[in-house]
């Protein structure tokens, strides 16, 4: 049981990832798909940050009187880069959705894929 509880954070991250994946797979609204994608991204960032933390640790700032152990600075740096990438992809996706809306008149995927409308 303690084994399972020790990994509680990771389990939560997996659940979040699964929710995002479910949204991406089932929602027909393109905006909702992008939201689902962002939920998945948040889950992965959560995994990275969680893996870098230490119980009772301090942020990796030297010269501020903080005591070791320090959290891993790599995890923070990776997440920061990951967030920028996720933001960029989301921005492009939103602009594309606006173009689909203007040119096809809908952002519901099931309506867009129907041939006769």
């Amino acid at each position: 049981m303690t084994e399972g509880l020790a990994h509680l954070d990771y389990i939560a991250v997996v659940i979040l990832f699964a929710i995002g994946l479910y949204v991406v797979l089932t929602k027909q609204n393109l905006i909702k798909k992008i939201i689902g994608l962002n939920i998945m991204e948040t889950a992965v960032f959560g995994l990275i940050v969680t893996s870098g933390m230490v119980d009772g640790g301090s942020p990796p700032l030297l010269g501020q009187g903080l005591e070791p152990p320090y959290a891993s600075p790599i995890a923070h740096a990776l997440v920061l880069t990951g967030i920028v990438v996720a933001l960029s992809v989301t921005a492009l996706a939103l602009v594309l959705i606006l173009r689909v809306k203007a040119e096809c008149g809908s952002i519901e995927l099931d309506e867009l894929l129907e041939p006769d409308e």
Partner: protein, 235 residues
């Protein structure tokens, strides 16, 4: 039916993933591989090796500078992409006036009142990002948010006209350009591309310059995304 199938797939995948992650070293344990290998080396190296007391900044701009260069290229590419595929150039109909969305006077006054303080905080985050929590991107996001707020109050046209087009493209490109220049400076002064040269004051100067460029680039990209979506929305 389709949703039930998707749910089943997701549950199976989540089960597999849980089985996988439960074999990782438990999070928070100081004995985990994450804390013993490369990160421990960074922490032991301290400010002298990393160049910045904020080790996250040291990782971003020194140890793993190429990743951060890639990051600013991604955001620049996304901005170029948004400008290239957006609708705003396609239809040249008369654009509706920006004042069609009246902002409540309370909101208007508060944003105008807070603007200098938000700008100051953004600048603080950028300039002190190598010592304290913060950094170029974080400060740039605050700055970008401020510009978006201002465009709500002043109207997007005023924000768009802040810079003439050619100058705007140069400013948008500032982060990857400054990064490339420091990479070459590293080659010239320290023998390796992306190296931070000694002495300490030069290193700090380069770090601050990089943070500033990243901050300005991020702010302009955010405003660019927002204005592009806003223009498309009105077209």
């Amino acid at each position: 039916m389709r949703n039930a199938l998707a749910l089943l797939i997701v549950i199976v995948l989540a089960g597999l993933m849980m089985a996988g992650v439960s074999q990782l070293p438990p999070p928070g344990s100081p004995d985990g591989a994450v804390h013993r290998h490369v990160a421990a080396h960074y922490i032991d190296g301290g400010t002298e090796a990393g160049g910045a007391p904020n080790l996250v900044t040291a990782v971003l701009l020194n140890y793993r500078a190429l990743d951060t260069y890639g990051e600013v290229v991604v955001i620049f590419a996304a901005l170029v992409a948004v400008l290239a595929v957006g609708l705003s150039g396609h239809s040249r109909g008369p654009r509706r006036q920006p004042d069609e969305l009246p902002v409540s006077p309370v909101v208007d006054r508060i944003i105008r009142l807070l603007a200098p303080f938000i700008a100051l905080f953004a600048l603080f985050m950028i300039l002190e990002g190598h010592v304290l929590p913060g950094g170029g991107f974080q400060g740039g996001v605050v700055l970008g948010a401020l510009l978006i707020l201002l465009s709500l109050v002043l109207g997007p046209r005023r924000i768009r006209r802040m810079l003439p087009t050619p100058a705007l493209f140069w400013t948008r490109a500032i982060a990857p350009l400054v990064f490339a220049l420091t990479a070459i400076a590293g080659l010239a002064l320290a023998g390796w591309l992306f190296a931070l040269p000694e002495p300490a004051w030069l290193r700090e100067l380069i770090l601050v310059g990089l943070e500033l460029a990243i901050g300005i680039g991020a702010a302009l990209a955010l405003v660019g995304f927002y204005l592009s979506l806003e223009a498309d929305h009105h077209d």
